[in-house]
């Protein structure tokens, strides 16, 4: 369903440096640039990607409220390390790593330099029965 999602920035160089550092060791890497200079990050073609870009209307980027991108990790240790890397890069802490739903959702939250909210999580969503 989701092919990619975009987040706005007012300083592409700073944002790319931030995400380069935060994604280090996760397998998420720079994929390609948009004609407008936005940077797509992803793991493999075919998997949903994240693009950091200046807004299409050439106005100022503005973070949403209620808007958030949740990135999945394989382990809770990966979540801890990811969150720590983000804070070390100057991200704002929006929630320390921890189980929000026992055995189901382990998450940590931060904001990038443009105040976009990111969640990193280890979930066991697949175990939830889907009602028809």
């Amino acid at each position: 369903m989701i092919a990619y999602t975009m987040l706005g920035t007012n300083d592409k160089d700073r944002a790319f440096a931030f995400y380069d550092a935060v994604f280090e060791g996760t397998g998420i890497k720079r994929m390609f640039k948009t004609p407008a200079g936005g940077q797509f990050y992803g793991k493999t073609p075919g998997e949903p990607m994240l693009c950091i870009t200046s807004p299409y209307d050439e106005g100022d980027a503005c973070h949403g409220n209620g808007t958030m991108v949740a990135l999945q990790c394989e382990t809770t240790e990966d979540v801890d390390a990811f969150h720590a890397r983000a804070l070390a890069q100057g991200a704002g802490n929006e929630g320390d790593p921890g189980w929000r739903a026992p055995d189901m959702f382990y998450g940590a939250y931060f904001r990038d330099h443009d105040q976009n909210k990111i969640c990193v999580c280890k979930t066991n969503f697949a175990a939830i029965p889907v009602k028809n």
Binding site: M1, I2, T5, A61, N65, I128
Partner: protein
């Protein structure tokens, strides 16, 4: 990589009605509903990246942001047209009619852009031949 993306709402009932109908077109349905903040997760199953609508966690009004967008992949150009029409009929607003962006051809990007009733921007696209 992406587990889910959330969009803020100030009118949960309206947003649920909108996304029930719109994402239903793609076979997605409500997978999780939480009482606390109205968090409603839409997906085709629990292992595919999904979209959630929610009242903001900080209790402040929801706001759409600028530069933010979710892009949804369609199987053919006709589906882009249908999906975009549905998005507008349900109360969305136009941000770009369906058409090829860039060069046409084997890797053509055929896309349409719209905003939901609260201003969150989405894109529906087909990459490749019609």
């Amino acid at each position: 990589m992406i587990g889910y993306v959330t969009l803020g709402t100030n009118d949960l009932d309206q947003a649920r009605t909108y996304y029930d109908a719109l994402l239903g077109e793609l076979g997605a349905k409500r997978l999780i509903e939480m009482e606390e903040n109205g968090f409603t997760l839409y997906g085709v199953d629990m292992t595919t990246p999904s979209i959630a609508i929610t009242r903001p966690d900080n209790g402040e009004p929801a706001q759409s942001g600028n530069g933010n967008m979710i892009a949804l992949q369609m199987q053919e150009r006709a589906q882009v047209d249908t999906f975009y029409q549905k998005a507008l009929e349900l109360g969305g607003s136009d941000e770009g009619a369906p058409g090829v962006r860039g060069d046409d051809g084997a890797m053509a990007f055929y896309a349409a852009y719209f905003r939901d009733p609260e201003g969150n921007k989405l894109c529906a696209f087909r990459l490749g031949p019609p």
